[in-house]
């Protein structure tokens, strides 16, 4: 259906898109997320709800 120039555009867009996305991914995650996971884990331990 879409040929030639449209393919170029699509590739161009997807490359930029991945780049934008990867930049954010590479920023890593703020510590608060790891803290949150740790808190959830601890909470469960304290509740003694392990399966």
């Amino acid at each position: 259906m879409q040929l030639g120039q449209n393919d170029d555009q699509e590739r161009f867009i997807d490359e930029n898109l991945r780049r934008v996305y990867e930049e954010t991914v590479d920023e890593g995650i703020p510590d608060k997320f790891k803290d949150l996971l740790k808190k959830l884990k601890d909470q469960e331990k304290n509740n003694g709800r392990q399966q």
């Binding site: 490359e15 934008v20 949150l36």
Partner: protein, 185 residues
């Protein structure tokens, strides 16, 4: 303790979830809140996750449901064009030396939520059309037409309608792209 808790896998998906959330909301603070909510929901509902299926898809589904329900609740657009995301983007040209990415980000932020979402899921996050369709609760054809419309709109916003403007952008972009991990093909 059971041997393999699927929740141990959560942490691996956080950067991708955050990237998706930031792209979706265009606001770093809202995105982080959303990811936190998603983590808590995933943690407490882990029994609903089918072990062996794609956890990232499951998490993204929760994330986007969180986004759309909070948007409905707020009954307003949470998108912040002048927000953190766009601002931080405006600084980028100084680092990578071309206007290209700024224009691209701006164009991306101007898409309709549904179109940007489809494009991100398929074009950036590596999901298939089928997976994206399931995550969004729509038909595969809907995802295809949303991504097509998203691409067409970006082309339009960036003035990529003809060959010359595309050529103009190539050298700088390609050199950056080929030297980064984006070159995945």
């Amino acid at each position: 303790m059971s041997n393999a808790d699927p929740r141990d896998e959560l942490v691996e998906h956080l950067p991708a979830m955050r990237a998706f959330a930031i792209s979706l909301t265009r606001n770093g603070a809202i995105a982080d809140d959303m990811v936190q909510d998603t983590v808590v929901k995933a943690w407490t509902n882990i029994d609903k996750f089918e072990v062996g299926t794609n956890m990232r898809a499951w998490l993204f589904t929760i994330l986007r449901n969180t986004y759309y329900s909070s948007r409905r609740k707020a009954n307003r657009e949470v998108a912040d064009i002048d927000g953190v995301f766009t601002e931080s983007l405006a600084e980028k040209p100084a680092h990578d030396g071309h206007m290209q990415m700024t224009d691209f980000r701006k164009a991306l932020s101007e898409l309709k939520d549904e179109q940007r979402e489809a494009l991100l899921l398929v074009g950036a996050s590596g999901f298939s059309y089928e997976e994206a369709a399931e995550m969004c609760g729509v038909a595969v054809g809907t995802i295809k037409s949303r991504t097509n419309r998203a691409r067409a709109r970006i082309s339009e916003l960036m003035g990529l309608k003809d060959d010359e403007s595309l050529e103009m952008t190539d050298d700088a972009t390609m050199s950056v792209i080929s030297s980064s991990k984006v070159s995945s093909f």
